[in-house]
Amino acid sequence: MKVGLAHLAVATYVIASAALVFVFSQSVLAFLFFEASLLVIYYASIEQNTKVCLSALVLLVLLPLLGSVNGYFLEIAIQIAIFVILALGLNIVVGFVGLLNLGFVAFYAIGAYLWAIFGSPQANQFLPGNLFPLASGWFFPFLILSVGVGAFTGALLGLPVLRLRGDYLAVVTLGFAEVVRALVNNFDRPINITNGPRGITPIEKPPLFFQPLLEFIGLKAEPAVIYPFYFYFIALLIVMLTVLISRRLEDSRIGRAWKAIREDEIAAAAMGIPVVRMKLLGLAVGASFASAVGVLFAAKQVFINPESFTFMESIGVLAMVILGGMGSIPGAILGATGVTILNLQLLKGLSLWLNSVRQSGIVLSIPLLGNLDLSQIPAQFEPAKYERMVFGLILILMMAFRPQGVLPPRKRGH
């Protein structure tokens, strides 16, 4: 393999940004630079194999290492992974099949409650025998079960609404999500299944089956230390699986059928595509992604309540897909990452900076305008307080200037 300038530049960027985070371990900005290294790798003109190796280095080695310096970075990475999986799932429904779903979060909630109810003492409320919580070893079987449950509920929602199109379908899916949330919110009486608005806690975490192995190689660590890394790797694994599944489906008879339905349903049917069956399959696959990641979310949070599954959450995921580029897998990943970073890091980082400016008590004297006392900047200026507004502005600007998204789907070469 010839090592060119591009290789050198990319490798330098990756190492330098990681080193930067090591040195400034509290700096949000440094971590942003590091996160951008994946984008640099994606866009660099280097071979596919090198890209995979470099990404693996970033995701499997460097990020966990940085996470050991500052645990918050790991938390952000897990959050990003969760939203990437949700966005990939919705991308199949909205981006490939072209069914506008405004209630995608319902399937996320179904997965989360599936594990929350049985992975906590909650199930004892309506099942006899004091069998619950299930041992943590059940986490992985439930992860697989959730795929089936998600697919089933996704298809179930599809059945009555398949004759609807566009805006009508959107309204029905919105209603479906609200019904799911209302059910979860109110199913604490007469039989207490969901514990209502009080939520469910404590939820079992996945089993530490590898702990003996860690001890064997001389690593002694508290579960509290191990879990963030553990969740990170599980989330990463699910991301990789969903990317793989999405990609394989996209370049197959199934993916082509989905896109044909999106483009022209009547022509698709006339070309021999069983429209109803294909739509149901799309809804099922998308929902199964969301449901699986719901299980992970419940285990990670230890506590869940209906507040986590609001309409805004659905809209947020939809915005990620649209911003990234509908029907594009890299787009969905970028959209989810970008929006999550914006919400978790960028605005909070700016708020922190503004606070420090305020507390510095410096008075600027600007000609003609007089003195500006920085400590007088009202707290309303904190970007974290108008997160939604910034988000909304970005949506408006994107739709006006780049409606196809940041990374629109590429032509499928053969």
Binding site: R248, I266, A269
Partner: protein
């Protein structure tokens, strides 16, 4: 035995009798044309035949089996595929992908084969791509296979519709105004293509066409519809002289010029 047989097919939209007891037979190896003034029910007949509309009365037999009540995808699977009068390509898919979509019911891979990328899956994908390229070639779209469908010129889009319909490996090909908007040269090259298709790619063809040069040039049989009823059928030359056909196209009345001369 007839390949495709329609008997007494009727279709109503509210008070409008779009098709009134239409009979039509298509023999193996035949190119038939369906003509008639605008609004005569030609496209409605295609929609009914391909399952987009449900017929109200009548029978459709294809290769000895009834097609009544079948969904469009099943009818395509049985061996009837079509093009559309107002082009309905999959705009944000490439030319090759459009053709591959046409092969949907001829590829047999399931979800698991796709996810695991089984041997069978890969073989079928390669096979399908090769066949699709052959059709791209046949319709003169070579070099355009990786363009978005909406980037093609009008004539190319019409030809892509034909390639996509052929991809379903039909026995009967239905063409809805295939030469609409084309100039004489383009229309002629398309006629040559149609003649080539018979026997090699399809067994029979039924086309709706307004261009009389095309109709007279290639069809073995012409069916004339007017107000949903079949008013004439026969060899192109017979039909051309049929007074009812002339009336349907030109209207009733005396030729003033004739009367004076």
């Amino acid at each position: 035995m007839a390949l495709l047989e329609l008997r007494g097919v009727s279709k109503r939209f509210g008070g409008l009798q779009a098709l009134n007891r239409v009979d039509l037979t298509l023999e193996d190896g035949m190119i038939a044309a369906l003509i008639g003034p605008n609004g005569a029910g030609k496209t409605t007949l295609f929609h009914t035949l391909t399952g987009i509309y449900r017929l109200d009365e009548g029978e459709i037999h294809f290769g000895g089996r009834s097609l009544v009540g079948l969904k469009p995808d099943k009818i395509t699977g049985a061996g009837i595929s079509r093009t559309f009068q107002n082009i309905r390509l999959f705009a944000r898919m490439t030319v090759l992908e459009n053709v591959l979509v046409g092969m949907h019911c001829r590829i047999r891979t399931n979800l698991w084969g796709t996810l695991l990328q089984s041997e069978g899956f890969r073989h079928q994908e390669i096979d399908a791509s090769r066949k699709a390229m052959e059709l791209v070639d046949l319709t003169g779209l070579r070099g355009k296979e990786n363009e978005w469908a909406h980037q093609l010129s009008y004539g190319e889009q019409r030809r892509l519709e034909i390639a996509r319909a052929l991809a379903a490996d039909p026995k009967v090909l239905l063409l809805d105004e295939p030469t609409a908007g084309m100039n004489t040269t383009e229309a002629r090259s398309l006629m040559m293509l149609f003649k080539d298709l018979i026997g090699r790619y399809v067994q029979a063809m039924l086309l709706i066409e307004h261009n009389m040069r095309v109709v007279m040039g290639i069809s073995d049989r012409v069916h004339v519809l007017d107000y949903g009823e079949k008013i004439a059928e026969g060899h192109p030359d017979e039909v051309r002289r049929d007074p009812r056909v002339i009336e349907a196209y030109l209207g009733r009345g005396t030729w003033v010029g004739d009367a004076q001369s």
